[in-house]
């Protein structure tokens, strides 16, 4: 469910019909819009699991549940060339193809495609919309089969582990025993670590990028600001905004604006905007967006609302906050990797203060402690956390080199 269409829908409804709450409610339940339809019936591939429930970390079971995904390239006959790409907080399965909601190219097309570092001529790439997401995998915007209404806050609180368990079910479904590689940045990197720790035999190589083995107090704090912004918006309606026919636009936009600052670096903000004014020659002595940086953030906030579900944002940030691989391993991170045969390549960025290099180093040291095969690259960049999504030649060379060497070991044809 994306807010863009909800907003259009709302306008359409109020223009053509009396704004009775019945009409709004009916409209919300029918979900007549193309983008709302992405929630339950995505444009991408989707598998509905009806046999075995997903056992969630909170103790609840989820059944049925569905997993939406995209694939690129061809799975070889031995089924040994599959790469699972895990997306970040607000990403989706459209990693290297047009996003049906925004109409924009895939979020990592710079990395994935024929001849690119993750070469789809050579590898079979799978990208899964995470559990709790809003573009086709089961999440709070999906229809709760028990009630016929959107889950809303009745949706169980999920974890990174639950997301990975759901992905594993899809990988089973695709008949793949062992993934050649699991790759992801930020929250995608958390999933990579979870995969490597939980399913050691099923991961030949792993690339956690710009990530951390646990969410820091600072990161939890930022997320809490975002969640409170969403929930403080009256339009959030206690989480039942879909049925209420409203969208917590303001709250979600503020959450995104605050979060977006954390994805950049002071240096990048300074270089990009400085104190420049937005389309004006002097200060207006008002609260309109005088500064370019304000205008930029407002734009980031409003476009985000057009493509993301507010409750999904709450659930996914919560899952990230709960992530602590060391705690899961009894307090010692290295224990989580004991016995691993996986080849690792950990990547961080010099200006990333959200997931700083020292947190990647924690991962590396834990892997060293179990004598794992690990590479660690710190890429020099002033672009902050977002650098992993951008044109960073050093990152590309690292991905290419690491995958190439791993492919040789795995016996994949060049």
């Amino acid at each position: 469910m994306t807010a863009e269409t909800s907003l259009e829908a709302k306008t359409a409804v109020s223009a053509s019909e009396p704004a009775s709450s019945d009409v709004v409610m009916e409209h919300a339940l029918e979900r007549p819009l193309a983008t709302s339809a992405e929630v339950d019936t995505p444009s991408s591939e989707v598998v509905v699991f009806r046999d075995k429930p997903l056992e969630l970390d909170c103790g609840q079971q989820l059944l049925p549940f569905q997993v939406a995904y995209c694939t690129y390239g061809t799975l070889n006959a031995e089924r040994t060339n599959a790469i699972l790409v895990c997306h970040a907080l607000t990403g989706d399965q459209y990693v290297a193809s047009r996003n049906p909601v925004t109409g924009k190219p895939g979020w990592w097309e710079i990395m994935i495609g024929p001849g690119k570092p993750i070469d789809t001529d050579r590898y079979f790439v799978i990208c899964v919309n995470i559990l709790g997401g809003c573009l086709g995998s089961t999440g709070p915007a999906s229809t709760n089969p028990a009630t016929g209404r959107p889950w809303g806050l009745d949706f169980p609180v999920i974890t990174i582990g639950d997301m990975v368990k759901a992905q594993a079910r899809l990988i089973d479904h695709l008949g793949i025993e062992k993934l050649f590689s699991v790759i992801g940045g930020s929250m995608g990197g958390m999933q990579v670590l979870e995969w490597a720790s939980r399913y050691k035999q099923r991961v030949f190589s792993a690339m956690p990028i710009a990530t951390a083995p646990w969410h820091s107090a600072q990161n939890i704090a930022f997320h809490e600001v975002g969640r409170q912004a969403v929930m403080a918006d009256p339009a959030w309606s206690g989480g039942r905004y879909i049925e209420a026919g409203t969208v917590p636009r303001r709250g979600l936009a503020v959450a995104r604006m605050a979060a977006h600052i954390t994805y950049l670096s002071e240096e990048a903000l300074e270089r990009k905007f400085g104190r420049s004014l937005q389309n004006r020659v002097a200060k207006t002595f008002s609260f309109s967006a005088d500064f370019q940086v304000e205008s930029y953030l407002r734009h980031q906030g409003s476009t985000f609302v057009d493509r993301f579900d507010a409750n999904s944002y709450l659930y996914i940030t919560r899952a990230m906050d709960y992530f602590d691989l060391a705690a899961d391993a009894g307090g010692k991170l290295a224990k989580g990797f004991e016995g691993t045969q996986t080849r690792f390549c950990v990547v961080s960025f010099t200006s990333d203060w959200l997931y700083p290099t020292r947190e990647s180093r924690e991962i590396v040291q834990a892997l060293n402690a179990v004598a794992a095969n690990v590479s660690f690259v710190e890429v020099e960049s002033d672009k902050g956390h977002d650098a992993f999504l951008l044109d960073e030649p050093e990152l590309f060379a690292t991905v290419r080199g690491f995958l190439g060497a791993a492919a040789k070991k795995r016996g994949l044809a060049a």
Partner: protein, 212 residues
């Protein structure tokens, strides 16, 4: 890009100490190269002995270049990061022309002997006759092809002679399984020569050690 770098690399002649180390390492061994630089030794060991090789290197650019060439290398520091490795995690822990640049060579060597079933250490010999004569004649810190920087700019904070190193081995309970010294033209000195002559004529030395 990978292929081009590989080729470019192979055109360089191998370092003599690297070739000697490659002779000492068993086929298919697990190897940690501490201070692996541009990864030349790891690549040589991979080609000739099919080792499962890892590297630690302090310079970020070199690390990134190694990983881009497909080597398993992390950015790290011999003084700080060896503590984290478990006992006997590797068959060989190697320190090639690096020990003299560490802050505390003794704990580094002890860690090497703990992490590896064997330790291999190569180092420039400060007891070489040319260095001795330079110091004697000029009264200044020698500058040679191996020690090109002036003393205040040199990363080599802990230079030692072959005799000093033998003493250190005794101190940390390391057994010298073999030692090879060679002169400036890369020619090995006869193993039958007394230590005094190795220390005088050897420009560099390679030691294969185990913990007693």
């Amino acid at each position: 890009m990978l292929a081009r770098d590989d080729t470019a690399h192979r055109q360089l002649p191998h370092r003599v100490d690297h070739l000697l180390i490659a002779d000492m390492v068993a086929h298919g061994a697990r190897v940690l190269d501490v201070g692996c630089g541009d990864g030349a030794l790891l690549e040589l060991l991979g080609e000739r002995k099919q080792v499962d090789g890892r590297g630690i290197e302090v310079t970020r650019e070199k690390v990134n270049a190694c990983v881009a060439r497909g080597l398993s290398v992390i950015q790290g520091d011999a003084d700080r990061d060896l503590d984290k490795y478990p006992d006997k995690a590797f068959d060989y822990a190697i320190l090639s022309l690096t020990i003299q640049a560490t802050r505390r060579p003794k704990p580094v060597l002890e860690n090497l002997l703990r992490i590896g079933r064997h330790a291999i250490v190569s180092f420039p010999n400060f007891g070489h006759w040319w260095i001795r004569s330079q110091l004697l004649v000029t009264g200044r810190m020698p500058e040679t092809a191996n020690l090109p920087e002036p003393w205040y700019d040199s990363p080599d904070a802990h230079l030692c002679t072959i005799r000093d190193f033998v003493d250190l081995c005794r101190l940390v309970d390391a057994r010298v399984e073999s030692k090879v010294t060679f002169n400036a033209s890369g020619r090995q000195l006869g193993t039958w020569l007394p230590l005094t002559l190795h220390n005088l004529l050897g420009e560099k030395a390679v030691f294969l050690l185990t913990r007693r």
